[in-house]
Symmetry: C2
């Protein structure tokens, strides 16, 4: 299969802290229920899992937001819990309640029996989707691959689904930290293999979603969430073949992003984990994050997803506030505009139009207002 | 009514950053469902609201944890949502789902019609409970009064109950900040009046629970959560009559505590709001909080409530970790041991015994290991 050269690499450049003409933007869960065309495809698929497991349909919904908006990246349509599903836990979705496992981890034996799956076997549908999407994108924008973090996968695997008190997983953490460490070691291997397989299949950047790191104490975050992520990042392939104009390939860097929701207190540690970019939720001021992290990593974020409930003028003002907080992009700093969490299903599609236009406009204005960079 | 002089003022002294013999401890929601005797009384009352609204029963459950454990403070048994209930919203509790309002705020007219209630009229049952408990305590330990923060009350009043996405209140925040500010102004007055009435009735310290401040961006936190709390604190009575040995009274300071769950990034600002102590959840290291706040405020917290799921030896180790993180108490610094959030209903009652003993033991050991203070 021959792939087209990338026509818009702004997103990758920003992640690698290289100069860009504008601030790139994409949105977590940009292929989601706020889009009527997504709902239509999902209805055709029958279920969320059927949608994720049918490469042609996964490709279709991945591209839908790109048809509407001038987004600077596509993200593989999938779920953060595909890995535990491939480990035999039986992922399904209960309407209005989120993900559930049919066979959550409830005893030592079931944890000790787990093994990292071969991503090209039981997760082959994901790699097929990556290849299909990459080909359909035809070089328009880069494709992001992703996984849940080992800690976040462990939470869902032990709790069996969403939770408000994290009682099962924390009982294990306090009573049987050895068992939790064993589980995290298996998941670390599984996530590293999974992300590397996505890179081999064509993902041009990867993101680790640590949805639940923020419920831990600082020392537990470091041990049970950040350390496994760091081990994943250390095992990632750093480069992929990128087609060049004419023919042939060059080796290109595959940037990685780590995002701990509620991790605002630990940004320095996350920035030190080996990733190229740190995802920031909306509770942290981007300017403060930039001051704390310096030019060690690019930043990705961080508009409150609910800001999209405002009217267009209010959305533009909030976008400007976020970009002002980051400040003028300078050489050595990178900013990828995003929400601080997944987009709400109740968002007006037009609100996203206002957001994307505002990011591109404001970013060009910021750059025009300062002397050219070296 | 003549009250007994206070025999254990360790809690109040720690809040005022005065030297103490040991580290005082109490637990958020210490009169709660983890205690079988609480469940029995609640069953007798028929409902949570009947329990809270019957002063003799509220007094009974307030004292139950003190009968079991050597706690250094009692906290009024009530709910953070009594004020909106008194404003006519109709508070009730749905088993397993938490608080609900029968008449949530859904339009501008219902918000503009709100007025701060007279706490000695519609909230008289709370003041009666404070007086009954204070008398029954007979000087054993101080009594804490409390309220939800204006922002937290606004969240529940607009959402109508618990929420995972805060969509209604944030839609108002982004679309109609003027209306939200109006609501918060009314609630600020209501909360200040309510806490002052509790102080007049006999509360010896007051705490403001800002359960939902942590879902805001930094600038919105300052405007919509912290600023109203600061205005409440500015209006608080600073002193009360405290009976002294023999007869008569002295004027005693009534310390205030503010607790924003998820507010770890904003501790300096909270410490600057005029309160005597800052509540810390378990995601922040107490030693870091102490370094950031210095001797401006006492700290209250911050064991992960789920640490109580461990065995006794594990609980003792976690208690020691928290107290080591705070460090040796020195003149000008104050630490009140608490959980970082309310105790889980699934806690073994014996776990609390282990915790309280460990706090007292370890605190005495810390003090013995250092030269006497000035």
């Amino acid at each position: 299969m021959s792939l087209a050269p990338l026509r818009n690499d702004t997103f990758l450049r920003a992640l690698l802290r290289q100069p860009t003409d504008h601030t790139p933007v994409w949105l977590m869960r940009q292929a989601g229920r706020y889009l009527p065309e997504y709902c239509a495809t999902r209805a055709r698929a029958g279920s969320f899992m059927a949608l994720a497991q049918t490469p042609e349909l996964a490709c279709e919904v991945t591209l839908q937001p790109l048809e509407r908006y001038a987004l600077d990246a596509a993200i593989l349509f999938s779920d953060i819990l595909t890995v535990p599903d491939a480990m035999g836990l039986g992922l399904h979705f209960v309407e209005g309640e989120g993900p559930r496992f049919e066979r959550p981890l409830r005893d030592e034996a079931s944890i000790l029996a787990l093994a990292a799956p071969d991503p090209n076997q039981s997760l082959r549908y994901v790699m097929d989707a990556v290849r299909t999407i990459r080909s359909a994108l035809a070089g328009r924008v880069p494709l992001i691959g992703f996984s849940g973090s080992p800690w976040t996968l462990a939470v869902y695997m032990i709790e069996g689904g969403g939770t408000s008190d994290f009682r099962q997983v924390k009982t294990m953490l306090y009573r049987r930290p050895d068992l939790l460490r064993h589980l995290l070691a298996v998941l670390t291997q599984a996530v590293a293999d999974y992300l590397n397989a996505q890179i081999e299949a064509g993902a041009q950047a990867v993101m680790i979603f640590d949805t639940w790191g923020g419920v831990l104490s600082t020392s537990h975050y470091q041990r049970f969430s950040l350390a496994p992520m760091q081990q994943v990042v250390a095992q990632l392939q750093r480069e992929c073949d990128e087609p060049v104009e004419g023919a042939g390939h060059r080796r290109a860097r595959v940037p990685s992003i780590a995002f701990t929701k509620g991790g605002g207190q630990w940004l320095e540690q996350i920035a030190g984990s080996g990733v190229d970019a740190v995802g920031i939720d909306w509770t942290t001021e981007l300017g403060d994050a930039r001051a704390r992290i310096g030019s060690r990593c690019a930043l990705q974020g961080n508009l409150d997803p609910l800001a999209l409930m405002g009217e267009d003028a209010q959305i533009r003002a909030e976008v400007a506030r976020v970009m002002e907080s980051f400040g003028v992009p300078q050489a050595g700093f990178g900013h990828v505009f995003n929400l601080g969490h997944g987009i709400s299903q109740f968002t007006r599609p037009d609100a996203v139009q206002a957001l994307v236009e505002a990011v591109h406009e404001y970013g060009r204005k910021q750059r025009a207002s300062t002397p050219a960079r070296a």
